[in-house]
Every structure is written in structure tokens, then in C-alpha cells.
Amino acid sequence: MVARNKSTPIPIVNTMNREYRLIAFGVLAVVIIIALPQLGGTGLPRQLSDLFVFISIATMWNLLSGYAGMVSVGQQGWIGLGSYATIVIADDLGASLFVSVFLAGIFTALVSIPTSWVVFRLRAGYFAIGTWVVAEVFQLLVSSSTGWLGGGAGRSLASIRGFVRSTSPETFALTTYYVAAAIAVLSIIVVYSLMRSRVGLGLTAIRDSESGAASLGVNTTRLKLIAYVVAAGMTGIAGGIIAVMSINVRPDAAFSVQWTAFMIFITVIGGIGSIEGPIIGAVLFYFIRNQLSSYGEWSFIVLGVIAVVMMLVAPRGIWGLIQQRTHFEIFPIRRLMPRRLLMENTPSTGEAP
């Protein structure tokens, strides 16, 4: 053990000198987001909106599972609920189309609070199935509203027509693209800020050992609730933009467990428990999906096999492999000792901590 000098307590977070990379990455990301639609034809913004949705939903699944240790297979519940909430808020309550997308997230976040009373009774694997049951209940409730929400046939987002009529199809596609990009950036910022705060420290402690964290005074229930509600809210917003992108919303598609399968695949491939992982995974998934889309069932079998093998061989994903070799990171959220203190405190045996 390192003897600590009482007069100079070691700060647990010293990441300022690593932040320049993040700023550079942020600037680069904004430039790419603005530049990309200029490159291709009219279909490109629509396609790239998919990519941003993948980044958002995987980032939120990663917050829940990778950081807080709550593996959920029911995140499709928030997507479906967010999609339908957007339709109701925009078409029935008359809010403007893209504002409704964000209001839908507030709605799903609110719904997730009573939901947590049920699923938080369950642990680990049974928590996962419990979230799935909740998503099924949402789907069945929505489907049973045959009049208002259109039942199994679904309901279309009528406000889109109004938006296109008062602007143009190109403006609609481009606005959707920018909003989708903004949601992805917001998701990343939210997770980054959470993980930089005491909440993040507590969450990782819970993931590593819930009883251990509780015994050290971490309010586990409160922190888990924060992660759960934030993930539900942000995934609901993503569900909202999905509704805008798909125009007609059907319960079986909106509440499909496939959404969660995508989140899991993206996060596992990219690297679970890192902010970079879901971004890398989403970009990879986006290309793999486009390549494999003509192969039907085979594409899902291939994706499933890749995820299983990845989990067995490299459980920290591609980003984990990169980090193992280079120690490079964009989002400085790991707690590192400042180098100055490391030098002072390194024992003479020369063994680096």
C-alpha cells in the first residue's frame, strides 16, 4: 500500500488534462454531422438518422447495463411508448412535431417511475425478463386501444403532413436528421455528465457489487432509479424520432424486442461499459446491417453468432481491445491518480499501480 501524506489528500478525479481530446472529438463530431448531408443525395439524411438512433438507444442501454449493471431486455417498451406518446402529443394535443419528440421522453421517464417499483423487486436475470414483461404489457395495452391508438394496425403521425406542407420534404428530412443527431449527442452528454459525477461513481460501484456499494453508504436504490429513469426518458425520445422517421407506428414493430437486440449487439460489439463502445458499435452495426440486409434470417444468425463469440472472447468489445493496447480514450471518465502524485507515491520497488 502507498502511504498517503495527510496534508495533501489525493483527488479522485483529475481528468482536466485529458479533456482536450474530448473537445477535439466534439468539434470533429459537429463538423461531420453538419458536413455529411452535403455529401450525398436526398436519401442520405434519412439513412444517417438511423445511425443516430442506434447511437442513442445503445448509449442508453449501456448506461443501464454496462454502467449500472441492470441488464434490460425491455427497452423496446420505452421506444414503443415514446413513439405513441409523440403521436398523441403532436396530433391530439397539438404540440409542434419535434417538440413532441422530446415531450414524449418526459412522458416515458414519468411512466418508468411506477414501473421501477415492480422491476426493482427482481435481480439480475429475472430483472431482465421482468423488464420484458413490462414492455409486453405496454404493447398489449396499446394494441387493445383499437379506436384511439388504432389497435394492431397502428396509427400514423399525421402532423408530419402538416410539417411537410408548410416547409418541404427536403426540410423535413434534414430537420429529422439534425434532431436525430442532437438526440444522439444529448444521450452521450447525459451519460458522460452522469459518469463524471458522484452518481456515476456510485453506479459503477453497484455494478461491481451491489451489497458492497450499499455497505459503503451508496444509496443504491436512488442511483439505480436515476439510471433507470434517465434511460427510459432518453430511449423514449429516441422512440419519438423513430415515429417521425417511420410515419406509421404499429405496436408489433414499435414494441419489437428486436430494438433491444440491436442495442445489445451494438454495445457488445463496440464495448460494454464505455462511452466510446456504443458509438463504434453503432457505426459498425449500421454498415453490417446495410451489407447483410438482403440475406434475411442469415443476417440475424450472423449478428447473433458475432455477439456470442465476442462475449466469450473479448467481453469488453472492440473498444476494450483498443484500450488494452493503446490506453487511448476520448471520454475521460475513469478515475486516475494525477501523475504528479503517482510519482511521489510510487514505492521504490517501482511497481506501477
Binding site: 449493471g69 425478463i129 414483461v133 404489457v137 398489449l140 445489445i264 460494454i272 434470417e297
Partner: protein, 293 residues
């Protein structure tokens, strides 16, 4: 709506018998959770897979009920390498790897079945037995297949009870469940026990799958819904309790049948809601034994 006493009794009997199938779903899931705290998210897909294996055998003229003697060993043998070479590798690495791997398996099995058999619904034809029924009163008759399913479910539970209490291997299962390290010191190979547990779980799954196929039509995508039913049976009954699973299955079957009586669309919903109510008011289930560490 006419709710005569006959109709109510009829509904209750159907509900209880339906629960027999859910008991078979839940038992396999509960077994591996009890022995190694593993939750198999592909559980429902293995049920559907078993029905398809029986369907292949039906192509060779094997009656589905006879095919049990083939499909059960096949699924048992499938479970051994699955646990040995895949899931055992993830033990002790937290909850995430086994969950994500079994979820991946679920996706793989569903799509492989869809590739091999298309997304169309299929059924298993058990011959005259399928439509046979016992008439008790003019307005109450019990289908022979649901009754047989229920009896088989009870027989499986009794078999498991005897296995756990009376056999050497059963004691090894219990010892490993309680404390794998101490069991190892007593000369039990816990990894081997885990493989056998998975085999046993899938053997029960095979019975469930065939009975499902005889009872209703099935399709590749139906696995996840079976997983949820298995889960609900276990949660209502309480973790690790063999007879709790029986109660859980019956309660779930009753909830669905009664719900469907109110509105056919509430069949699934009422089962889910009963589960959620149990979770809120009695989170350990009605007859919990296993402590979730």
C-alpha cells in the same frame, strides 16, 4: 354474458389444466436458476425448437407423443455441450455474459427455425387422442390432452422431488446450489453438475415443447412469449420451490382463462398483471425457497 355455474367450473378446470403446461415451462427455467443462478433467455426458444424436432420426426411417421422418447434425450445431450463449452466459460464473470449469450442464442434459434421451416405456423398431430375428451356432466367435458399434460407435469415434479431428495446426484445438485466451493471440496465437479443441470432442464423443455405443439399451433417467433410464461410461473410460485412452481402455473393458467372470459384480448394481459401484482405485494413469490444471492 351467461355465467352459469357449469360455465364457471368449466373455465376453472380449463385454467388449471392450462397451468400444467406452464408448470413444464417454468420447471426447466427454475431448475438451472436454482442450481447455478443462471437465467436462460433462450429457454422459450428451446421449447419451440423441441416442437420442431418432433415435427421433423412426424415427417417419418412418428406420433408426437411417441417422439418424446427421442426428443427428450436429444435435448438433454444438446444441453451438455451448451453448458460445458459455452455457458460454463462465463461463470463467475458477473451476470452479464450468460444473459447476453443466451439472448444471442435466442436470436440465433429463432432465425434458424425461420430459415428451415419458414415463419408459417405448424402443428403436431397426435391423432385421435388430441380431440378425445372425458364427459363429466353434459356441460363439462375435459380434454384428454390437457389432462394428460397436467398429469405429466405433476409426474415431472414428483420425479424431480425424488431425484433431489433421494439420489446421490440429486444431493450433488443441492450441494452445488448451496455452495459450489464447499461441494468441490467434497469431490463434486461443479462444472459437470452444471452441464447435467442444463441437460435436465432441456429434457423437461422437450416434453413441454411437444405438448405445446400438440395443443396449439407454433411458429419460430413464439419462443420469447414461452420464456415470459415460464418466468411468470416461477415468479408467482416463488424461486426454487418445486411445488410453488405448480401453484404458479395453475394461478397463471387461471388468470389467463378468467381474463379471456372477460375479453378475449385480455388473455395474455391478465397473466402479466397477476405476475406484476405478485411482484409488488409478495416479491419473493408465494412459496419461495431459493435465496437469490
Amino acid at each position: 354474458m351467461d355465467l352459469g355455474i357449469d360455465r364457471i367450473i368449466n373455465m376453472l378446470v380449463q385454467g388449471v389444466l392450462l397451468g400444467g403446461l406452464y408448470v413444464l415451462y417454468g420447471t426447466g427455467l427454475s431448475l438451472i436458476f436454482g442450481v447455478m443462478r443462471l437465467v436462460n433467455l433462450a429457454h422459450g426458444d428451446f421449447i419451440v425448437l423441441s416442437a420442431y424436432i418432433s415435427l421433423i420426426l412426424a415427417g417419418f411417421g412418428v406420433n408426437p407423443l411417441i417422439s418424446i422418447v427421442i426428443v427428450v434425450p436429444v435435448m438433454f445431450v444438446l444441453g451438455l455441450p451448451l453448458q460445458r463449452f459455452v455457458l460454463n466459460r462465463t461463470l463467475g464473470k458477473g451476470i452479464m455474459p450468460p444473459l447476453l449469450i443466451t439472448f444471442g442464442l435466442s436470436v440465433i434459434i429463432q432465425n434458424a427455425l425461420q430459415l428451415g421451416f419458414s415463419a408459417d405456423t405448424q402443428g403436431l398431430d397426435a391423432g385421435a387422442l388430441e380431440t378425445a375428451s372425458i364427459t363429466i356432466t353434459p356441460s363439462l367435458s375435459i380434454g384428454l390432452m390437457p389432462l394428460l399434460t397436467f398429469v405429466i407435469a405433476i409426474a415431472v415434479l414428483i420425479g424431480l422431488q425424488v431425484f433431489f431428495r433421494r439420489t446421490r446426484l440429486g444431493r450433488a445438485f443441492r450441494a452445488t446450489s448451496d455452495d459450489p466451493e464447499a461441494a468441490e471440496m467434497m469431490g463434486i465437479n461443479s462444472r459437470h453438475v452444471y452441464a447435467l443441470a442444463m441437460g435436465l432442464s432441456l429434457a423437461i423443455v422437450a416434453i413441454a415443447g411437444i405438448l405445446l405443439g400438440v395443443r396449439t399451433n407454433f411458429a419460430p417467433a413464439l419462443g420469447p412469449a414461452r420464456l415470459l410464461l415460464a418466468f411468470e410461473t416461477v415468479i408467482i410460485g416463488g424461486l426454487g420451490s418445486i411445488w410453488g412452481t405448480l401453484a404458479g402455473g395453475i394461478i397463471l393458467g387461471l388468470a389467463q382463462t378468467i381474463g379471456a372470459q372477460i375479453n378475449p384480448a385480455y388473455f395474455q394481459l391478465s397473466g402479466h398483471l397477476v405476475t406484476l401484482l405478485v411482484l409488488v405485494f409478495r416479491p419473493t413469490g408465494l412459496f419461495a425457497v431459493t435465496r437469490d444471492k
